[in-house]
Amino acid sequence: MNTSEIIKTVFLPVSAKVAWGYLTEADKLAKWFHAPKQDLADGQDYALFGAESGDKVCWGKVLKMDPYHALAYSFAVKPFPGMETEVYWTLDEIEGGTRITMRHTGLENLDGQSFDLSMALDKGWDRHFAQLRDI
């Protein structure tokens, strides 16, 4: 098992077209993820901002947009600004809705050594993790 890769699936009882909107449109992303200033666009940089802090929390570049089927973007997060991971979304229309598979790769790039050198944590992050734990 590759422990540095995360794979999740979620079933949504809607068409792939509707599900696609939730993954790419700014107003919908803001409601479940973090808020971008604009809809995601192929080949464009994006940034997501924290709801409370207004800080930029995740950013990267949209690598692939194959409408209603596949979406990929590089994904950098605040504590490790120089290190980019990648997130791949796949949408499969199945009976009664759409199965979404999320694959987060590149976490192995963050070994202890590079962490020491590139460290640039700030105060927003530990709050974020603390919130996660409270769920």
């Binding site: 995360i6 509707v18 939730y22 479940w32 460290m119 640039a120």
Partner: protein, 106 residues
């Protein structure tokens, strides 16, 4: 898990990040660390205490001196952040599923 929060907290400050960077180079006494900052010994000591609480540094007595070193084990635990992202995505995808259910009136 509590330790990890303390570790993240410990790193959430530029001074403490600098102290970690210094200790990554070599072990130091508090006095040696203080020399690198425009800050009182008490101020530096406070930061060192937080780093110790986060288990990012260890303090050993050597004779009359107290030597501060980086605790590599502590950094290893912070690197288990794959686990955090695992939780992160579970949380986000749950939120997505609930939102879709709500908005699309299923």
């Amino acid at each position: 898990m509590k330790t990890d929060v303390a570790a993240f907290k410990a790193l959430g400050d530029p001074t403490r990040q600098q102290i970690v960077a210094l200790l990554a180079g070599k072990d130091m006494t508090i006095g040696q660390v203080v020399d690198h900052f425009d800050m009182t010994r008490a101020g530096v000591k406070k930061h060192m205490k937080l780093l110790e609480a986060g288990q990012l540094i260890t303090v050993k007595a050597e004779g009359r001196e107290r030597i501060n070193s980086l605790n590599h084990e502590g950094f290893k635990s912070i690197m288990q952040w794959v686990a955090y992202f695992d939780q992160f995505w579970d949380d986000k995808l749950d939120a997505l599923a609930s939102l879709v259910e709500q908005e699309e009136q299923i």
